[in-house]
């Protein structure tokens, strides 16, 4: 039995030994129970790793409402006609067939942190010894005045994979020459920092490929700079000259109102008209994390950098976009990496397995044009001040030759296949 840390000892000291979770588990009288909320890059990975690595000592329940998962990563390549929708959509069948893993397709509606249970909309309740919360993001609709869930049916955000992705693509494909796109890009922090700009690249690629030479894309940004800015700007000039205009807040002066039906975005500078509006609002942790009291004033969930354990409940881990992961960007790669650290620590809590120092990593690849890939990446550890800090990083360089860019794109394809296999088996 591994020693109990001082922090954990203090937390447990007030309880009678009869209520401690550990003895029955360590004596093999019952399997420990882990519930995972959310079947994306974080949740699917942690569920799979716990089920496969725990020697049958942990029973995992993965609660995910959708029966199929469309990845947000690579959805821009679908916009650019580089991938089809089927190739970015995955089933849970292989996970569901694993021993010690129960996949429940239901909406998780409530976490009772005192009773240590999760309830679903269909009336079931799942007890847990450890809970992993990986719900991804919720959109803050009114962060863009005039925007709403209803308006998103006309002016899609497409910032969660699935029907919105297909809606944006169908509207993109319906554009005719001379018709224009207006995007509102979100403020930090948000899912996939380079995502809006890769999306613009891929939408421009689609327009150009179809000969829509008079169509333009205007980006009304809510922030003064963005990820891989130099690389995107260079790529846009080289491949889509005259098609893309990026306007930061100091130029447009702020978003005043979106009218999805009229196809307009009013700013201090001007009213922009788009035949297609792609409105990406501000974001926060998925609602269930907020209702469960796991978030702070930022709308996201503070965690312990060494483990991804919630700062407010030691029986809960929060991973992926919903967490405040210090220097790590909100990405599928980050969520997958965090899931492995969480799984290690959960196994350490519930079985006698070893726990190693947390090591995290992330790489974000973006496709600018055909075979023209760029990337940014870093490695991370728990820093001295309790935050996840970057220790080593790299980024593609402007002016790289075509072979390097083609290799980078090929690398991203290999990563996608490996990552989705790591998530879904």
């Amino acid at each position: 039995m591994k020693p109990i840390s001082r922090r954990k000892f203090n937390a447990l000291a007030g309880l009678s030994t009869a209520t401690l979770f550990a003895p029955s588990i360590l004596l093999g009288q019952a399997k420990a129970k882990v519930v995972v909320i959310g079947g994306g890059a974080g949740g699917a990975t942690v569920a799979r790793y716990l089920a496969k690595d725990s020697g049958g000592q942990i029973e995992v329940t993965l609660i995910e409402n959708s029966k199929q998962y469309t990845t947000c990563f690579f959805s821009n390549l679908y916009m650019g006609d580089v991938r089809d929708f089927k190739s970015i959509t995955h089933s849970y069948d292989t996970l569901a067939a694993m021993d010690n893993l129960n996949v429940v397709h239901a909406m998780a509606t409530e976490i009772d942190r005192d009773a240590m249970t999760v309830s679903t909309a269909d009336g079931n309740t799942f007890p847990y010894d450890r809970l992993v919360v990986s719900p991804g993001i919720d959109l803050i609709w009114d962060s863009v005045p005039g925007y709403s869930e209803e308006a998103a049916q006309i002016a899609p955000h497409a910032w969660r994979g699935g029907p919105q992705t297909e809606l944006l693509k169908s509207k993109l494909d319906a554009l005719e020459n001379g018709q224009n796109i207006v995007m509102v890009a979100p403020p930090n922090p948000y899912r996939c920092p380079p995502g809006p700009y890769e999306r613009v690249s891929m939408m421009a690629h689609s327009l150009k490929s179809r000969g829509l030479k008079d169509s333009t894309i205007t980006i009304l940004d809510t922030k003064p700079k963005f990820s891989k800015q130099g690389l995107f700007t260079e790529g846009w000039e080289a491949n889509y000259s005259g098609m893309i205009e990026w306007l930061p807040p100091e130029i447009h002066g702020g978003i005043i109102a979106v009218d999805a039906k009229a196809g307009t975005v009013e700013t201090d500078l001007d009213t922009f008209e788009g035949d297609l509006l792609n409105i990406i609002p501000a974001q926060r942790a998925g609602g269930i994390a907020i209702y469960a009291g796991l978030t702070n004033e930022s709308g996201f969930c503070p965690i312990e950098a060494a483990s991804m354990r919630s700062s407010v409940d030691e029986n809960v881990f929060v991973i992926g976009d919903a967490s405040i992961a210090g220097a790590m960007p909100k990405s599928g790669f980050s969520a997958n990496s965090q899931a492995k650290v969480a799984a290690l620590n959960i196994r350490g809590d519930l079985t006698d397995s070893r726990v190693f120092p947390a090591k995290y990593s992330n790489t974000c690849w973006s496709l600018i044009s055909t075979d023209n890939g760029v990337k940014v990446g870093a490695r991370y550890e728990a820093g001295e001040e309790g935050k996840i800090v970057s220790t080593h990083k790299f980024i593609s360089q402007p002016g790289e030759d075509a072979d390097t860019r083609a290799d980078t794109y090929q690398e991203s394809i290999g990563w996608y296949d490996a990552m989705t296999t790591d998530m879904f088996g």
């Binding site: 090591k359 990337k375 072979d403 090929q410 690398e411 290999g414 296949d417 990552m419 790591d422």
Partner: protein
């Protein structure tokens, strides 16, 4: 596998992995091929498979056990540890140019590399 065969395989695999490196940029100042002595020294540093398995969870995010064709991310499972250590030392020295792998290796110590290599050899499926 005999020692001679293993050594031969190790050299061949190293060459193969080198070709697969995306942007190998040999012979720049300060860069070098890892020596056999250095490779063998690092290989012997660790036999901690549990630690290697944990570290290698990062590898599998990109290196599929069943890589598709036309993908330039090499297969790394079931190889002699010498091949993995050789390649990683050459990323660390800058002899191999792929920036993703250089960044991975920059954050690892020799014992980490050894543990990863020992674990990867043990992966059979």
């Amino acid at each position: 596998m005999s020692n001679v065969a293993k050594t031969l395989y190790f050299v061949l695999m190293s060459v193969s992995l080198g070709k697969l490196s995306a942007t190998a940029d040999a012979n720049a100042a300060g860069e070098r091929v890892a020596s056999a002595e250095e490779v063998l020294r690092v290989v012997r540093l660790s036999n901690d498979l549990a630690y290697g398995e944990y570290l290698a969870t990062e590898c599998i995010a990109c290196h599929s056990k069943d890589p598709g064709i036309d993908v330039n991310i090499p297969m790394i499972y079931g190889l002699p540890p010498e091949a993995i250590v050789w390649a990683m030392l050459e990323y660390g020295s800058g002899y191999r140019g792929n920036t993703t792998m250089r960044n991975v290796v920059d954050a690892l110590g020799d014992e980490d590399i050894s543990a990863i290599a020992q674990y990867l050899e043990s992966v059979t499926e």
